[in-house]
Subunit: 311 residues, 2 copies
DNA sequence: TATCCTTACGGAATTCGTAAGCATG
DNA sequence: CATGCTTACGAATTCCGTAAGGATA
């Protein structure tokens, strides 16, 4: 039994049991993967994969029993490397952050600048994706830290922490009739075409919920992943925008006005996710501390020790 | 990084950093061990062991941080084999039980007979030792199950369950003056020389505690590890014995009488220990069920999933 | 001086890539 | 007939044991 064999098995599960893909993903050849897996099965005395003819279709019962432990072994082998690096040069390494456009562009700006100044020898990777992709990246160990407002708490392998709360706001062209209202109401805004985030992005669920609760159907004419796109079309006069209020910059967004909507939509809580059982480099803990000081070191450690359940 | 290297490191810690011993224990040569460890250190970029000149003295700071994770990796690799075997032939394998003489000779008799009939193709290993040795055997994975009355709950890596309670009794030659007493008291027995278990064996602590509470000092003239030895000397008239009452057999021990002492000494609880994070073969669970039906399957599973803390 | 670790060397075993073969949808 | 796994072969690498060397208590 060796780590390579285990790595191939894990990757096969991830790549839908296509060994050609596995080989490509791990920079090796397909026959090598095929053989290594067979050797492991021989040594263990059980078939790990269900085969029909020459294709792999899924995990056998023993395979299902083994796969979680295999995952833990591989996580730990990675942890060993991380721990060692932490001692050999605690200020050098990589930090992979998976997040959404909104967080990357607005919430993380300051922290990332600060972090890069504090740890100039750490290479930062900023990976954008949907909240679901972010959760998967962290689950699979491709990212160390995930940051998003949605979806993260649906993965049992992840440990999530609330970081900060924020509200949506309406964004309208300067001089728009809504700017003359004392206090915004949903009834007033449904008169206008609306431009906002795509589903499952940046608190979109709270927006839908608020309208649904009132029984009104907003006329969402355009959706986008990021506030920049939304602002562009609001500026063109195609509708009024609903965006995270932090995405409005009074200096840069001359032609636009932000209208408070904190009384209309539920607060959104942006969460940070790490994988249970993953060792975090010292600078990764520092990053978390910079971004969300309210997460205590003790909380963090506890989450990391917690094993992923199996068998 | 490979399993062999990790195995050498773990064994080095266990064998007090003597690589010659490590090589002997793992059936290989000392230069091989030396090299493998150095290769691992090279790959990780940190020294795992503190060296003075050419001797290893202990773990470095990084070494201390790594050692628990290394242990978990090795435990899991063993688990993988066990899980696979469980499927390839669920009725064949080995079961190593570490226990004391008393348990092996009296309490386990019936269960072991029953187990061997139920699982004829499982090889049983019965390892005797002191309670401390038993705890260590289970901690190190050399035994699957440990059974003893003392010491087991002092090891954080172990998970222990109460199995059954029992009392000490006095054992005297037939016709001894004490047999004429209605009810035994400690005051009465201190008049006689006493033969009983060695310290830290078979509830000896409770015996000492009872005498100490009364402020009397018993005249312990002989101590032994097992009841058979104690009975032998009681029969020779060298004193009265205190043994676990289950060790008295009215049929075989003709010349001896057992006197109830359940009102004099605290009850003893025999416990069963397994290592946290260790996969148990199906028949091992069955053994536990036979020996201590009151331990629920759920309790057992939960203990096994619980990880050993690190970092 | 005995113990214990390191270095050097060479044979054995393992690993891994290329090329060809064969089953399946 | 394209996709995807297996088998066969050979080169490169890794592994591991023996023998000799050097440091320490």
């Amino acid at each position: 039994m060796n780590f390579q064999q285990l790595r191939y098995v894990r990757e096969a599960v991830r790549r839908n049991f296509n060994l050609t893909d596995v080989a490509a993903a791990l920079f090796t050849t397909q026959p090598g993967v095929s053989r290594a897996i067979k050797e492991l099965e021989d040594e263990l005395g059980v078939e790990v994969f269900v085969r029909r003819g020459k294709r792999l279709l899924g995990l056998t019962e023993p395979g299902k029993a083994l796969i979680d432990v295999i995952g833990r072994v591989l996580t730990d082998s990675r942890n060993l490397r991380q721990i060692a690096q932490q001692f050999s040069d605690s200020e050098q390494g990589r930090l992979e952050i998976a997040t959404t456009h909104t967080q990357a562009r607005y919430a993380l700006q300051k922290v990332i600048k600060q972090f890069m100044e504090a740890f100039p020898r750490v290479r930062l990777g900023l990976h954008q994706g949907t909240p679901v992709q972010i959760a998967e990246m962290v689950s699979e160990g491709r990212a160390d830290i995930g940051i998003a407002t949605e979806s993260l708490d649906k993965y049992s392998q992840l440990c999530t922490f609330p970081c900060y709360s924020w509200y949506h706001g309406f964004i309208v062209p300067a001089g728009h009739p809504l700017t003359r209202l004392e206090k915004l109401s949903l009834d007033a805004v449904v008169e206008f075409p609306i431009i906002t985030y795509e589903e499952s992005f940046t608190g979109r669920s709270h927006i839908d919920k608020a309208f649904a609760a009132l029984g009104v159907v907003p006329d969402v004419v355009l959706t986008a992943i990021d506030a920049d796109v939304i602002k562009t079309y609001v500026e063109l006069g195609l509708g009024i925008g609903i965006i995270a209020s932090m995405a409005y910059d009074a200096d840069k967004d001359h032609g636009l006005r932000l209208l408070d909507a904190s009384h209309l939509f539920e607060a959104n809580t942006t969460r940070l996710a790490i994988r249970k059982g993953n060792f975090l480099r010292g600078y990764a803990e520092q990053f978390i501390r910079m971004f969300a000081p309210r997460i205590s070191a003790a909380e963090l450690r506890q989450a990391l020790v917690a094993a992923n359940g199996d068998a």
